[in-house]
Structure formats: structure tokens, C-alpha cells
Symmetry: D2
Subunit: 343 residues, 4 copies
């Protein structure tokens, strides 16, 4: 049994506590939160868990092997660093930190101490995303042409980060997981409608070193909730709708077929009718997906990495890659979409 | 009866001929097309219409009052100019011309000769868009926060224009019609997947002089067809789905309520929980829409303008405004999303 | 070229005329209708077609090889009989006649004269239904457990037949086509809401000689339009939604697995937890369908049968089978769902 | 605080326990279940709740004020009777009992002892159904024409009751709540596909003393899950889709308008074109619904009735009315849909 201390029992913390408790391989020893009401809630549900308003006390408890951090992003770095320095393995909510520099320092600290540093890129542990990765890896989609995602809903406005840091982070994590190519530049645009608050509507485009593009549409001010990703490949195309109860992934045997053609006319008017592009439209297939709760799979993986000393699928480097793009996107957004090169 | 000559009987021409014929206020006298097969089709359907491969002959016929042009965009300027010079009223497929300069010249020519110049911005004549305009004009949506549109499908790749000129043009026409604000800058990104052909996936952001943003996602290489526009306002929000058979417009009484709040804590951790944003979620309403075919309403309007000497709702100036943005968007796309100011 | 005379140019007649004209193997020589306005419409669209208010004159024209009847069902028998007696092949709208006895007489007349008698069971010529038949024939669905169909919409109330004769007829035709089993009894219930008019809401259950059931829900007074059929089999299940633009058929690899089990408890309370039924949930598959217009395929088949002297897929016998069930269903409906045996 | 003992911790029991615990007005003192594994689960989640395999012991505990029964229907009567005789208020899962006679005895027993007997007709406590009742009560739908419901999914086959007792019971409870009319006869058809097990596909029609009909389609062997009810009225019509995340109820301003007309022709053929029915199609409206969990509202109501000695909205009489129809429907099903009169 790995003993876990959880910092933060707000929106996501309860899911962490429940999944660690029910994992069979870990148990939650202590939970800290600044709100007494939240701690009361913990005690009502889990009378055996120690609660404290003092996260520093939790971090230094000798009976805590690992610390899970589910607090606002502005606090991730300090809390994670303290935990690593106290010799604890660390599991951090996405995004890993506020700056790439902070992520790099955490990676170094964990490396130096031989501790596991893992970021909670939940989506890469879903049956849907793992299926997409399998399709990409097997070449079933062919060459990837584009990744186009839409994550919009009403709320929850966050006071300290813009909507890209809250929602686009999911797509960046998914892309880092399923694609081998790294983006080379990013262009982002966006706007805020609450004075003094960060952007709540934003659009982000990622460029690659070949004819592939990624685009992410995020919005906290939409009347409807949408979670829809299109992935276009030369062989097949995928529609991934996370709100579908059962058929989250649909694989379309559709695409274009290029062929050589000759201009069929002399005049300008006639030539424009010529086309060398044929359309292919075949079956659609919705594979059955593994329905295991993503966070359960993730928690088991975290414990496994601790035991084996293995590298997590969403380790510090994955977190750093995402934060690097988020930083660049914010710079581009400040310059109305002017492209920013990525390292 | 206004007598109309139609140039081009490809994809859209048949709709023009049918609507002019059934309008009750106009009749089609002649149709020209470079393809003999298309002309045979016209004669089979309408034995009384004269057909010719020679558009110049059609334009100069004395029994033709107005010329409707449904050919590739590269030919619009020359054909429209010839028709105006021959003293004919002109109805041109969208987009009006390939360059803003060409649009300006057509406007001048029509003005000088007292002729009607109208561009076929079909969507502004739909019951759906007219309802949205009525909502905006009445202040029912409040202050507009964003316009976010998605027009994706498989095909039809066009050889001479990129996907923005084919699909985003609809949204630019709609925005020009329903909003009084003009965009001040545009940022566009995109990519092509067929060597030597223009971009088939593109994203366009429009900036305004106040906290309002517009975004358009267009794609010829999508496995599914989507035509969905979100319009967010301070009072209400609209979802416009043109593929819905009956409820194309849904009006949501949803939004955010801003209120003054005080930081509830001393420490950084506690303050981040504070929020001054409330969410309002009320009824949804789908108004019954006028189901008249848009092109029928448009054709009647064109004839009306000819008779009254009135200014069309989609006259040359509207066409110019759209082409101006399209030109700027193409420049931004070439610069990976760097913003381009609009005049 | 088979020369066709069409009687009735109301709701469906225009589709018949268009498809015969564009078939390449037939042409429409004459159209009759009691309304002068409808005949004017024909002449406007097809100047070469002779029109007449006198169907008897049309039937006896020597230049007419076949007669297509698209009039209210109450007139089918007389018109078809006249046409057969005049030596014409006959194509009749569904349902074939008002009574089974009438259908039998038409079959005899056609048989005696060596003429083709075909009923317009349009749906069996759709790509969707033909795909379902192929699945059933190949055993892909396994043993059929049920057929459950819903056809509801607002209007069009018919004055002379109840909603079963208008809408359920489609399902009866489809079932006759895809299943080899014949129903042995029918139970129907329904109600009318317009005084003096036939039932506009009705439900029909068909029994078979093995554990299979069919159910049809038809309604002219629904706020929404639905066309949805579930077909449950022991190996796979199908959802057929005719309103889906592209994926009309979805094949689910789902079902139950029966296994032997032992009661696990002594008491009554414990035994009820025991179950021998397992659930299987696999992939979903939406095959690409042949998109040929059903009526085009049907018209070509009719001409083919005339030329080859072949038996139509929807010949008189198929029409008789459907009318036999409709008659029995109406009797059951009058007896509030009391079952009526089928011959 | 009302002290509650819960019998049965299978599928539904956990929801009862959670809602009583979080109600603020009741607490669960004891839980009994025949499975030791289920009791372990209770103790893991709620260390303070006493668990026992012996329901008789639970019933007689002096510190138990009320007993909630979430066991298979075959056991409801004996358990409820024991509890009432022990002086406890009783809350029973739907359906109340296996026979109307049993329900009557429970009602008498509760009456005699002045105890609350309530059946868990969960749906009548949802925001959606309460909104529909408000619309019906206010006359917004006009005269009710039909109620048409579909509840289909894959599983969970129940060994002791047919699918009507499991799923149609919801609709019977809803109808009893929202309509003032009582059905006068029922016709039901159905079939089972597992040898020795009750029907898993069934259809039920209810007749009323005026032109109103109700129909319920239930199926445990459907590849897709549907929960959809149409309610047609003379003024408005409602679509209630319980699987919609936010717009569960849509109110359509649609219907028919009857007017006097005269036959417009002499011949039989012409008269059939005549119609006296007009169609009205107006706006659609989706009201915001109260999102309180139904079971929470229900549990609060149960406690309230205990305290006030009030009559529950789903008391014994409501349970009896439902069971009476279920019994009659089962008889009709055995007679292939022959109608059975209701008392």
C-alpha cells in the first residue's frame, strides 16, 4: 500500500481521494485544505483520514509516501517542490506549473532524488484516447492531416488562468500522447469579457514541420457544452465526441484520392472545372472502448511507477511540453495571433 | 417581367434558373455555359430557354435586362464588367470578385450607369439569419461577445480559391448583415494537403474595436458535415445549426452575472477560490422560422431593386466588404496568423 | 423505351413522372389528373407530355404500354383493373388495394393476361433496406427476436384511410421483403381525434410461430418526425433511422449470452439475485449504403420485369400480403386490440 | 431526525442510503442485505451504520422509525407488512407489491395504524415530470390526445418480473400523477426470448373514456437506450427525453386546426382531395427545470409526511393503481392483446 497525502479538496480533489481509496494499492492518509467546510466533508465521508488546514504538515508526515496536489495552478510549483524536497513522490493537477522554467526545476529535483513526478493528464488514460493512439500507432489513419478540437461550455471561469490553461491543456496533453511530431510554432487569439479577468474565449493553432495543423477552440461562455475532436488522416478520419455516452469514437473510412489529370479546356473558364481530386466515402466504425474510469487507470499507473521506478506516461517531461506551448500561446494571444516559435 | 440571362449552369446555376423561372416576376431568356452537356440539360428541362456556349453573345442580347453570373470567381470581374457596360443589371455569385480593387470598379461602373449590382450572399436571405438580425437589432442578445462558426465537410475542393473564399465567405456576409460593427483586424491560419492546391483547412479570427471576437473554422476535409454558429451576447446566446431540419435557431437565456466581491482570505491559496462571476441558466426557445427558400426571396428582392431603383441588401458594397476581409485573411494566412489591419 | 401513362399528379405522381422520364428506359406519354391546375403544372415542366382530365382516355391509348397509378387508395382497384383489361402493365401506389379480395382479383387478371402487376413498396428499393435484407440473409443478425418501428410526424391526415394504411404499410412491406417468416396473428390498437375521421394514432403488434414479435407505432399527430426501426437478433442488432443523412443503418454487436447457472441460495430472497443472462457489448458498424434513389431503382426494375417477363420484387402477391395484414389490423383495432388470426 | 433502516443494498439501495444520509432530516441506522459482500461495502462507506444479514432484526429495532425496502418485488409484501406491524413507517421500491390484493392489505394496515406507506415512484419527483404536471394542470396542453412512451435498453433482465413490471411501471406512475383521468381498459402484447423467463419485450395500450390513448414500449433487449415520451394535446405537444442532459422537456406549439369544409368535387376521386384539417406549427420552448435529485426531493417528502401525518404524493393508493394496471396488462399479454377492463 502506498500512503498518499492529498492537498486540496475542492473540485477535483474528491475524485483523487476516491480513486486512491478504491485503488486497492494505495490509501489516503491525510487531506489538507484551507477551508474547514471541505475538511468536514472529508471526515464525514472518510472518518479514518486525517485532515489538516496545514499543507506543510501534511507534506512532512513520515507516514506519507506520495503527495497529490489538486490546488490552483499558481500554487503547484511551491507545493510540488516542497513535497519532492521532503522525499515524496508527487502527482500534480494539470497544468504542471505556471512556467516552463518551473516545470524544468521540478523535473530536475525529482530526477536528482529518484522520485516519481507525474502530472494529471487525465484524458490520456481514457479508453477513447488510448484507442486513438492505437489507431495512429498502427498507421490506420495514415498520415495525419489535422487535429481540430472544440471544448466549450458555460463556466467555470477561473480567476488566475485564461481558458487556454484550463481547457486547451487537455488537447495539448492528448496530442503529446498520440502524435510523435512536435509542433514548431503556435498562433493564438482570444478575448476576455470580464474586466480585469483573463481571456474566456480563445483559439489556438499549432504548426508542424510538415503539412499538418492543429487547432483548438476553447470557450467558457458558450450556451452549450461541446467536447468534439476531429482528426483527419490520409487513410481514415476520426470523430471523438467525449459527451457521447457510448460511441465516443467514430472512425470514418473517408478521404480524398489524388490522381493525375489533364486540363480539359483551352480557356480559363473551362480549366477551372478540371479537378484531380476524388472523394472516397466508406463505412463508419465505432469500436467498443475500455470503460475503466480514467483516473483509476492513472492512479494505478502512478503507484506502479513508484514501485517499479518506471517513467510515467504523463511524467514531468510531458507536463513541461504542455506548459511550454501554453506559455507561447499566451504570448501569441497578446500579439493578436502573431506566430511564436516553439523550441 | 424582368428578362434574365444566366451565365454558368454548373453547381449553382440550375438553382438560379429555377428560382428566376418560378418567381412570377422574371423569366430566364438565355443560358450560356462552356459545356455542351450542361446546355443540353437546360434544353431538356426548359425547351423555351435559348442556350449558347458564347457568354458574350448572351450579354449583348437586347432582350436581356439582367445578367446572373454563376461561374468560378476568377471570371466574375470580367463578366460583370462586360454586362454592366452592356447596360445590364448584374447578379453575381459570392464572392463578388477576386480582389477588393475589382469590387470597387464594379461598384463605380454600376453607380455611373444607374444599374443594380447585387452579390449572391444567399444566407442573409434565409429565415434563420433574418431572425438572428431581428434579435440583434431588438437588443435581445444584449452586447455581442463573440461569433463562432464552423463549416466543415468532405469536398468540394476548389482549384482556384482556398477554403476561406468558398466557405468563410458565408459567415463574413452574415456578420456584415447582422452586426453594425466592422472588424478592424484579421488573423488567419490554414494549410493545404494537396500539393499545388490552395488551403483546404483554415481558421480565421476577426478583431473589433471593443471586447468582441469572431472566429470561423472551415474545412473541406472533414469526415462529417457541420454548419454550426454560436453567438454569445451579454443577455442571451444563440446556437444556429443550419443542418437542423426544423429548429435551426435556439436562443438560450444563459450567461454570466458579474458582481462585486471581496477577497475572502489572506493567503494566496484562499484568494484563488474567490469569484465574482455568477452563472445564469434559463429557458431555451426555438422560434418558428419563415421557411421561404432563400434564393426565392433573394431573386424577388433583386427584381424589386431593379424596378424601384433601390439599394440591394447585398449590393456591391456588401460584396466589397467581404472581399476586403478575404484578401486580408489570405495575407495573414501566408504569415502564419500574423494579424492584418483592415481599412 | 417503355411508354408510361401516369394517373394522378398529386403528392407522389411528380416523383413517378420524373423518375420514369430520367430512367433512360421509359418515357411518360400521358398524365391524367382531375385538377386542371395540376395538369398545367405538368405541361409547364414537360411540354412534350400529353395531359388529360380523363383517366379512361389515358388507359386506352394505344401508345401507352404501362399505367402508373398514384391516386387515393379507394380508386386503385378500378383503375388497375381497367388498365389490365386494356392490356397494360400496371404500377400501383401502396397499398395495392382496399381489400385483400381486390388484390387477389388484380393478381388473377394480370396472371391471365401475362401482364406485370407491381406495387410501389418504395422502401424495399432503398439502399438501407436492401442492406438489412443482405444482413438477415447472410445470418449476420442470427435468429430474429423483434422488429420495432416508429413512424410519427405531424400530418398529413388522410380522409379515407387510417394511419395504419398510410404509414404502417411501409413496415409491412419491409418485413415481407427481409424476413422469410410470415406473421400468424395481429393485434392493433388506435384512436382518432377528428370526429368522423379514421384513427390518426395507432399501434400494431404482429405474432409469429416462434419467439419473434413485430411492433409498429404510427402517428399523424406527433410534434416531431421520427422514422426509426430497431431489429433485434441473437447475434447482432440493427438501428435503422431513415432520417439520418448518412448513417441510416447502425449494426451493433450486442446481445445476451445465456449460460447455465445454479441457484446460489436457499431462501427466496437470495435466489432472485441469481441470473443466467450475460450481456455482450461490442463494436458498432455503419456500412456505406448505395445512395441510388429508391424510386429510380424501382422504375428500372419495373421496366426490366416488363422486358423479361420476370416477377417483380414487389409484385401483386407482396401487395396482397400487406393488404391482408392491414385488413386484419383494422378489425383488431375495432375490437380494442383483440388478436386476429392471419391466414 | 427520522431514523431509517434500509433492507436491500443491491442496485438501488445505495441511492436510498446516500439520500437519507445527506437529507439533513433523517439518518440511516441499519442496513440489511443477504450478501456479506454488500454489507462490507456499506461498512466501508458508512462506518457508523449497523449492518445485518437479518432483515427481521432490523425491522424490530426500537431505534428504527421507518423502513425502506429495496428488494425484489416478490418480497415487498411480506417485508412491508412486517414493518407496518412493528409500527414502522414504510418506503417501498416500485412496484409496491406483486398483486393489487397485497397493495390493498398494506394500505389497510398502514391506515389502521396511522403509519405512512409510500412507494418509490421516483420519476414523479423529477423536475421534468413536475413541470409537465404544471403544464397539464394549467391547461397549457389543452385536451390530452395521447401519451406515448418508449423505455428500451440492453438489460437488466429480471428473473421474477416481466419488463412491464420493471419499466412500464414508471410511465404508469407518471400518468397517475399528471392526468386526472383513469384508464378504463388495457391491452398488452409481449414476448420473451429466454426460455423459462418472463417477457423482455412488451407493448401496452391504455384506453380512456374519451378520445385519449396511452402507449408504452418497453424492451430489455435493445441495442440503444431510449427514454422518450410524447404527449399530444389539442393546444400544445411535449417531447420529454430523460436522456437529454439539459433540455429534457420541449414544448411544441404545434397541432391541427379543424374547420368546416365542403366537398369540392362530384366524383369520388375528387372528393378525397378535400380536407378539413389545417396544421399549426409554431415555436418550441424548453423550460429550465429544477435540477434537484428526484430521490432527494422524495426522501424529504417522506420525512415530511411522517412529521405532518400527511398523505404522500406517491402513497399506497398510487401504488395500488399502478399494480392494478400491471396485473391487468399481464393478463392481456397472456391473451395476445385481448383487452382487459380496469375497475
Amino acid at each position: 500500500m502506498v500512503s498518499v497525502g492529498v492537498i486540496g479538496y475542492g473540485y477535483w480533489g474528491p475524485n483523487l481521494v476516491r480513486n486512491f481509496q478504491e485503488s486497492g494499492v494505495a490509501r489516503v492518509t491525510a487531506v489538507s485544505d484551507l477551508s474547514q467546510g471541505r475538511l468536514d466533508l472529508v471526515r464525514g465521508r472518510y472518518p479514518t483520514i486525517m485532515t489538516t488546514p496545514d499543507h506543510a504538515a501534511l507534506i512532512t508526515r513520515p507516514d506519507v509516501d506520495a503527495v497529490a496536489i489538486a490546488t490552483p495552478v499558481g500554487t503547484h510549483y511551491d507545493l510540488a517542490l516542497s513535497a519532492l524536497r521532503a522525499g515524496k513522490h508527487v502527482f500534480v493537477e494539470k497544468p504542471l506549473t505556471q512556467t516552463a522554467e518551473q516545470s524544468r526545476r521540478l523535473i530536475d529535483e525529482a530526477e536528482r532524488r529518484g522520485l516519481i513526478l507525474m502530472v494529471d493528464h487525465t484524458f490520456i488514460y481514457t479508453g477513447a484516447v488510448r484507442k486513438i493512439k492505437a489507431l495512429v500507432d498502427a498507421g490506420d489513419l495514415g498520415e495525419i492531416y489535422y487535429y481540430d478540437s472544440e471544448r466549450v461550455n458555460l463556466g467555470l471561469f477561473q480567476p488566475d488562468v485564461n481558458v487556454i490553461w484550463d481547457l486547451a491543456v487537455h488537447d495539448l496533453a492528448i496530442m503529446g500522447f498520440i502524435f510523435t511530431e512536435q509542433p514548431v510554432a503556435v498562433s493564438a487569439t482570444g478575448i476576455g469579457h470580464v474586466p480585469g479577468k483573463p481571456a474566456n474565449v480563445a483559439y489556438l493553432t499549432l504548426y508542424f514541420d510538415r503539412p499538418m495543423i492543429a487547432h483548438i477552440n476553447v470557450n467558457w461562455l458558450s450556451p452549450v457544452k461541446l467536447r468534439r475532436t476531429l482528426i483527419g488522416g490520409s487513410r481514415r478520419m476520426v470523430v471523438y465526441d467525449d459527451l457521447e455516452p457510448s460511441e465516443k469514437i467514430k472512425i470514418y473510412d473517408k478521404g480524398i484520392e489524388l490522381s493525375n489529370g489533364k486540363p480539359r479546356g483551352e480557356s480559363e473558364l473551362e480549366r477551372v472545372y478540371e479537378t484531380l481530386i476524388g472523394y472516397r466515402s466508406g463505412d463508419m466504425h465505432a469500436p467498443k472502448l475500455d470503460g475503466t474510469e480514467a483516473l483509476r487507470r492513472e492512479v494505478l499507473h502512478f503507484v506502479d511507477c513508484i514501485r517499479q521506478g518506471a517513467r510515467p506516461e504523463s511524467g514531468g517531461e510531458a507536463g513541461l511540453a504542455v506548459v511550454t506551448i501554453l506559455e507561447a500561446a499566451t504570448r501569441s494571444m497578446d500579439a493578436r495571433g502573431a506566430p511564436v516559435e516553439l523550441p
